[in-house]
Assembly symmetry: C2
Homo-oligomer: 194 residues x 2
DNA sequence: CTCTTTGAGATACAGTCGTATTCTAAAGCG
DNA sequence: CGCTTTAGAATACGACTGTATCTCAAAGAG
């Protein structure tokens, strides 16, 4: 077995380049060749790690999902509930360059998934994970009633806000106040003692 | 001036075919040739009405926006407030084949707009119109406080729910209950007298 | 009628697409 | 050392892309 290399790391390298490309130029600028160039590889090399473009996209979609889940897991959930929830949501919103890139990719994949079952399955799994995490945290924070319904509403709200922020960056600030207003409404009064 | 034809009607005919194509096969199946085929025209004929593909996409995006606004304008807003608001939102959700097609196209254009300024401008205008309509109605229904913030939250929520319904149709019913729960939370108690 | 302008289709072109195949060089194993 | 397997680049292929150009039939204006 000569000249062996960490295949998974190479795949992540290429997948990361693909995500960057999606966020910077859009999903329809993604081709085997452009991804290879963005990854500093030859098109032939990319083919060694992904037999088809669809396989490459699926891998990148999973990678993007992992990024979101990791980022959410890194939030300090011992903060005051309302503040923690806001922090959790902000991890999915395009508030800085890195998050903007991730949000762009997520939404591009989501729309793409409407016509590609394999991507749809990945998206559903990511949604499910995020929903569980949010619901679990909501219950722990004392908002047990309708926790999953609130979690799903929060997810939908976040996606909608993120989507609009992408093509209307001028409204960024305003949309953050919309988020706060909606969260105030969505969460029943905190369990006393601010 | 021989052999004249209603150019605007032809453009709408082609634009409608484009929207159908987007909803059925996705935005990246849209090409001058596939649109021509879907419209029952030759590629050359399509070129007579749209000098470039981008122009064709922009026209279709405006057309889709008009569809949504027309549909919302058709809602009987004299219904009980909560019911009317629900009806307004349902016009943007993929609850039947026709609305599913429109929602699919809207979201595809929205994501596309993240990298195409011309489409972004169209989307922002549609959002603005919908926001104004919603806010005006909210005020008339006695929810004057934070009317535009609520309107924007409702828009984001709708977009997020619609997006998810597209790749997770299994969750359709559940997401409608999420919508109801969120609306209950978003609207302050109705101005007495149910 | 003829002339002229238009709609509409056909064709041409250079470029890109996804993918299959072929090549070169390098590195671990015996 | 040589052998063999691999990484990676290069190339080839047919299909499709957006757009420019050409041809031809049809229809109003004179």
């Amino acid at each position: 077995m000569p000249r062996t290399v960490d295949r998974e790391e190479q795949r992540r390298h290429i997948g990361t380049a693909l995500l960057r490309l999606v966020s910077e130029r859009g999903l329809d600028e993604v081709s085997v060749r452009t991804v290879a160039a963005a990854a500093g590889r030859s098109p032939g090399a990319v083919q060694k790690y992904f037999r088809t473009k669809e396989e490459m996209l699926a891998f990148a979609a999973e990678l993007a999902g992992e990024h979101v889940e990791r980022r959410m897991a890194g939030v300090d959930t011992s903060l005051p509930p309302r503040r923690a929830l806001r922090a959790l949501i902000l991890t999915t919103l395009p508030v800085d360059a890195e998050r903007r890139a991730e949000a762009t990719a997520q939404l591009a994949f989501a729309v793409h998934a409407a016509h590609h079952p394999r991507l749809a399955a990945i998206r559903r799994q990511v949604d499910e994970d995020v929903r569980q995490a949010l619901a679990a945290w909501l219950e722990a924070a004392g908002h047990g009633a309708h926790a999953t319904a609130v979690a799903d509403a929060v997810i939908a709200l976040s996606d909608g806000l993120a989507l609009r922020m992408l093509y209307a960056p001028q409204e960024h600030e305003h949309l953050l106040t919309v988020l706060d207003h909606a969260l105030d409404a969505l969460l029943p009064a905190p369990p006393a003692m601010g």
